[in-house]
Amino acid sequence: MPLRKFHSVEEMPGPTWHDPSDPELWRRITDLWAFSDRLCCRRLPPGVHRNRSMEELNRRRAAWEAAAVRSGRN
């Protein structure tokens, strides 16, 4: 892929949407998720975690991410 330069983030092209029936979409999802896993090899605490609200779930998720960063796994 050739190098492209931008003066600001606003100049950069937006996300590329695909038709859901486009076979290219699944390939892109697979490649992107695999790439993301390689970049961010966090490990979550296995098991069942109960939350009283979505806010509590998000706080727990953020705590896991912070712990992963502290441990150098992110």
């Binding site: 892109r28 695999a34 009283r52």
Partner: protein, 156 residues
């Protein structure tokens, strides 16, 4: 997250006849925008029979006795948002029965999609927009803006 594992979970849910709807980042992907996500968010009907089927489906994939800790009483009672992390700890399956007073399973407008041959119930773009537009998380608000633009959605 690994697409094949997500597909395996969705296939198991279909085989067991679980009443669920995909929401969150995975739903955004299924609507056409490839973006990274680390959780499979599912709205599930919290009645005892459905939760029993859900547990059978998850056990068929993960063979993890901790799955038995998921209960209808929790989901329909004080714990409407349960995270299940499989033994390898690589991703989370977030099981949601309601979000505050605004959204319950029956409120989630969904459509059926075939994803790599698996029949999947996916929340509609309009539903996802409504769920995400007023949240605090930046990722959710960014998703809401993208959905609004792509699908020409209007404010309620």
């Amino acid at each position: 997250m690994d697409t094949q594992r997500v597909l395996a979970v969705l296939r198991a849910l279909e085989l067991e006849g679980v009443r669920y709807k995909v929401v969150g980042g995975v739903a955004i992907n299924f609507h056409g925008l490839a973006r990274a996500t680390e959780d499979l968010d599912l709205f599930v009907a919290p009645d005892p029979a459905n939760v029993a089927r859900l547990k059978v489906a998850l056990r068929s994939i993960f063979n993890d006795p901790r799955i038995d800790e998921i209960s209808s009483e929790d989901l329909s009672g004080p714990y409407p948002a349960i995270q299940y992390v499989p033994p390898d700890g690589t991703f989370s399956i977030d099981l949601l029965a309601r979000l505050g007073e605004a959204f319950r399973y029956d409120d989630i407008e969904a459509e059926e999609r075939s994803i790599q041959g698996v029949r999947v119930a996916v929340a509609t773009p309009r539903m996802l927009y409504r769920m995400k537009k007023d949240t605090i998380r930046l990722q959710d608000r960014a998703d809401a803006e993208r959905l609004k633009e792509r699908f020409n959605l209007e404010e309620d």
